[in-house]
């Protein structure tokens, strides 16, 4: 019986299982550290999900809606999932990970489902132009995009974004949008030609959310009490229920290797510290870009540096002249609601993207202290009715890279120590000479469109996120047409030259990282790799 081991339980791993499970005789084993939400909180969520939101107990809601926690004073706070930090919990996978400066240190998840427990659920394909720099084309990816979108919940609507980002599949409509979103979309319709002449396109969010069942409660950003936001853990729950996989939690992979035609995984049992050895016909590595990079560098036994390409993130507050009703009194869905694409070319390659979020309590928490004082209530009220926050991204070729330096551990069954450092602009305030030129161009274009959209950027309050904070990074072992033994590159099946049975399936194989959303392509590419690997080796 052919056998495969998948390391990880995030989106890439879920897509790999999806592809493997099409082969009825394949034995599929999945390893991960498997950190999960505590049982008591799971009980509260289960209770809330059975009740209508008007009947929810306030204490229960408070418990599962803890706001993001500020870890660094000059960075975006860290999200919580149902009040818990379990997606970021260190179960050993972060030991020996050192970060310099403002680089984010919570870069490898031990959670069952990985970082998809706290992601923004935004799903769009990469543009066709992005793949011109890849060893395969957009058309090679199409069927995999479709398959993934058929597997996960998908909400979205037809709009101008389709010009570069086809709306594969049949999305369900989004839940009702916040007034600000509706106003911006209406302004865009009214002044489309003028806005487009600045290179700006606006469209609705596309989300991995079961929208028809959504009863908007305003808790999306802290964890949907009805579990309507897709997490890879939902896929694995399904695979496990169907008996299709052998899921083994509590394991941290520390080395991969190949002996003849057999792929080998060495893993540490987290509860006992024991080292275990597993073999299979194929191994698919999906630990997330940094986790995979560390595992592979350690397995290669080399003290060397690689570079991760990151689609760097910035936060941009926007102010509107026309107010909306007080957002604090409303219960909207609070995920990303609309996207702004700022294109510097005509074919959808040099593109920056900004996701806009309606009000959620984190807005209020982020206000300067004096605006939270009772005497400033009037001003705060006026401000919150006009405030929108955008989470923007630059493509990796316009962003600083992250250098990952590995140092082999004395213990051969231990992961190497790694240091992550940002190479390029890394200040919190977007000022000075080092600011990426593309960002300045993007802001200029947004200002040109501002009078038409009634969306004015407050550039003085812009925040440049630290390195690795976007979670849109990869490319340490990029796909190339012909990988060679000296360069750390992979073929279209995610294989380094020295291993034919070990496939990297996450963002670590992306030749570049555009500013558009990341996870759908991670899943589609993983699905493609596994399908093609099955075709090749049976």
């Amino acid at each position: 019986m052919p056998s495969s081991i998948i390391i990880g339980s995030g989106p890439a791993a879920a897509a790999a299982v999806l592809a493997l499970s099409e082969k009825p005789d394949e034995k599929i084993t999945v390893f991960d550290p498997g950190t999960v939400l505590d049982a008591e909180t799971q009980g509260v969520i289960s209770k809330l999900s059975r009740l209508h939101l008007d009947d929810w107990d306030e204490d229960d809601v408070r418990r599962v809606s803890l706001q993001p926690k500020r870890i660094q004073s000059d960075a975006l706070p860290e999200k919580r999932s149902y009040g818990s930090d379990f997606p970021f919990a260190n179960k050993g996978q972060l030991n020996g990970v050192h970060c310099e400066g403002r680089v984010n240190s919570a870069v490898i998840s031990s959670a069952y489902g990985g970082f998809s427990n706290i992601w923004g659920a935004q799903i769009m394909p990469f543009s066709a132009a992005t793949f011109k720099r890849w060893p395969f084309s957009f058309s090679d990816m199409e069927e995999h995009y479709r398959t993934i979108l058929g597997h996960i919940p998908f909400a979205g609507e037809s709009d101008d974004l389709e010009e570069w980002f086809p709306l594969f599949g049949s999305p369900t409509p989004l839940p009702p949008l916040a007034p600000r979103t509706q106003m911006v979309l209406a302004n865009y319709d009214r002044h489309r030609d003028r806005v487009r002449s600045a290179g700006i396109t606006i469209g609705r969010a596309r989300l991995a959310v079961s929208a028809p069942e959504c009863q908007p409660c305003g808790l999306c950003m802290t964890g949907c009490p009805r579990s309507l936001i897709f997490s890879a853990s939902h896929s694995f729950d399904r695979f496990r229920r169907s008996g299709r996989i052998d899921y083994r939690s509590g394991l941290l992979a520390v080395r991969v290797d190949q002996e003849g035609d057999t792929a080998v995984v060495v893993a540490r049992e987290l509860s006992s510290g024991r080292i275990l050895r597993f073999t299979a016909d194929r191994v698919f590595v999906g630990c997330g870009a940094v986790g995979t990079t560390r595992l592979i560098l350690g397995s290669l036994g080399s003290d060397r540096s690689v570079h991760l390409s990151e689609s760097a993130q910035f936060v941009i507050p926007m102010i509107s002249m026309a107010p909306t009703p007080d957002p604090r009194t409303r219960r909207e869905f609070t995920l990303n609601q609309f996207n702004m694409l700022i294109a510097l070319d005509d074919d959808g390659f040099d593109v920056s993207q900004i996701h806009f979020y309606p009000f959620n309590p984190a807005y209020y928490d982020a206000l300067p202290g004096f605006l939270k004082h009772r005497s400033a209530a009037f001003a705060t009220d006026r401000l919150l009715r006009r405030l929108t926050v955008g989470l923007g991204y630059l493509p990796s070729w316009a962003s600083p890279q992250i250098r990952v330096t590995a140092k082999a551990s004395a213990d051969p069954d231990d992961l190497p120590r790694i240091t992550l450092a940002s190479e390029g602009f890394s200040e919190a305030k977007v000022r000075g000479k080092g600011v990426p030129p593309m960002l300045l161009d993007v802001m200029k274009r947004i200002r040109r469109a501002a009078p038409y959209l009634d969306l004015w950027p407050v550039t003085r309050q812009m925040l440049w996120s630290g390195g690795a904070k976007s979670y849109h990074f990869g490319g340490s072992f990029p796909h190339v047409s012909k990988p060679d033994a000296r360069s750390l590159t992979t073929d279209r099946l995610g294989r380094l030259a020295r291993w034919g049975r070990i496939h990297l399936i996450d963002g670590s194989v992306f030749p570049n990282v555009p500013a558009t959303t990341f996870t759908l392509t991670v899943m589609a590419n993983s699905h493609r790799i596994v399908r093609e690997a099955i075709k090749l080796t049976g």
Binding site: H52, P175, P176, A186, A322
Partner: protein
């Protein structure tokens, strides 16, 4: 059928209440909470039940669970700011439509307007368009009403009638046109659509497809009141500016500034005419003769109580 109507005390809602009751349907009227127990409500004929409904706080799905049809016509026309229109009228309508769909209502009909067309710059039209999208995505129907006229003389037609009474009538959009629909035809069309199961996945216009020049419209309205129209053209931008200033100062005015845009930039055509013909629905050409002589039986049948 059990037919729920929101905005059941409005001009169109009142006509629809009577029309559905006439056809033997049970009418559940959704009105503002303070109107549920009013004397007028108690005295109204043909309403089986009154239920409270505020557009800002739409009822949950449970309020629609026993309905076969829901006609959503409620719209707060006193709201003029963009934020309020999107935050109250649109958001409230979208939530209501979703709740009705979740409750399994067989036929959901959203009352839209001929002001809603792709490319409209009018806030009212854009807001209705957004709700149309929601209704259609839920499998509902969007009906774009033309300028509703008839013996009830409510809504925009009523406002134009008052304007035509002035010794001298300022005429904006004199070269423009409107699509019109008689009260009785609108009501009959709505009943047929509600009774039918025919899918209508794109908005349909409830209006005669022949555009009526605005000057002619005003002249006929004046004649129907035994007057001769004395009109003088006024640039619409001036009128719109004056109305906007009044709105900013919270001075009550008979027209919303946004309505002026609807008068000067009307839709180019009525959508779905052929589709409605398949249901046997057609609309009479604009004329006020029958209403002047009270010769139209259907029109009288649907006369709102407050006009009888």
């Amino acid at each position: 059928m059990r037919v729920g109507i929101t905005g059941a005390n409005g001009y169109v809602g009142t006509i629809l209440r009577a029309a559905f009751a006439d056809q033997g349907h049970e009418v559940i009227a959704f009105v503002r909470p303070n109107r549920v127990r009013s004397e007028a409500a108690v005295a109204a004929v043909g309403v089986s039940e009154w239920r409270p409904h505020e557009i800002a706080r739409p009822p949950s799905a449970g309020a629609f669970g026993d309905l076969d049809v829901l006609i959503h016509g409620a719209w707060d026309l006193t709201l003029v700011s963009e934020g309020d229109v999107w935050g109250v009228n649109v958001a409230g309508s979208q939530h209501l439509l979703r709740n009705a769909a979740a409750a399994g209502v067989r036929r959901i009909i959203f009352i839209s307007s001929m002001s809603a067309y792709e490319g409209t710059r009018q806030l009212y039209g854009q807001a209705k368009l957004a709700c149309e999208r929601t209704a259609i995505s839920l499998g509902g129907i969007s009906t774009r009403l033309g300028l509703v006229y008839g013996p009830g003389w409510g809504g925009m037609a009523g406002a134009l009638r008052r304007l035509a009474k002035l010794p001298a009538t300022p005429l904006v959009g004199a070269r423009s046109h409107q699509f019109t629909v008689h009260e009785a035809d609108m009501a009959d069309a709505m009943v047929r659509i509600a009774e039918s199961d025919m899918p209508l996945p794109v908005p349909v216009g409830l209006a005669n497809p022949e555009p009526v020049p605005f000057r002619r419209l005003m002249q006929e309205i004046a004649v129907s009141q035994g007057r001769t129209l004395r009109a003088f053209p006024v640039p619409w931008q001036i009128v719109s500016g004056v109305l906007k200033t009044a709105e900013a100062l919270h001075v009550p005015v008979p027209f919303r500034s946004d309505s002026i845009l609807g008068l000067v930039r009307p839709a180019a055509e009525v959508p779905g005419v052929e589709r409605l013909k398949e249901l046997g629905i057609e609309f009479r050409s604009f004329s006020l003769d029958s209403d002047r002589s009270c010769s139209s039986r259907t029109s009288r049948r649907h006369l709102p109580e407050n006009s009888r």
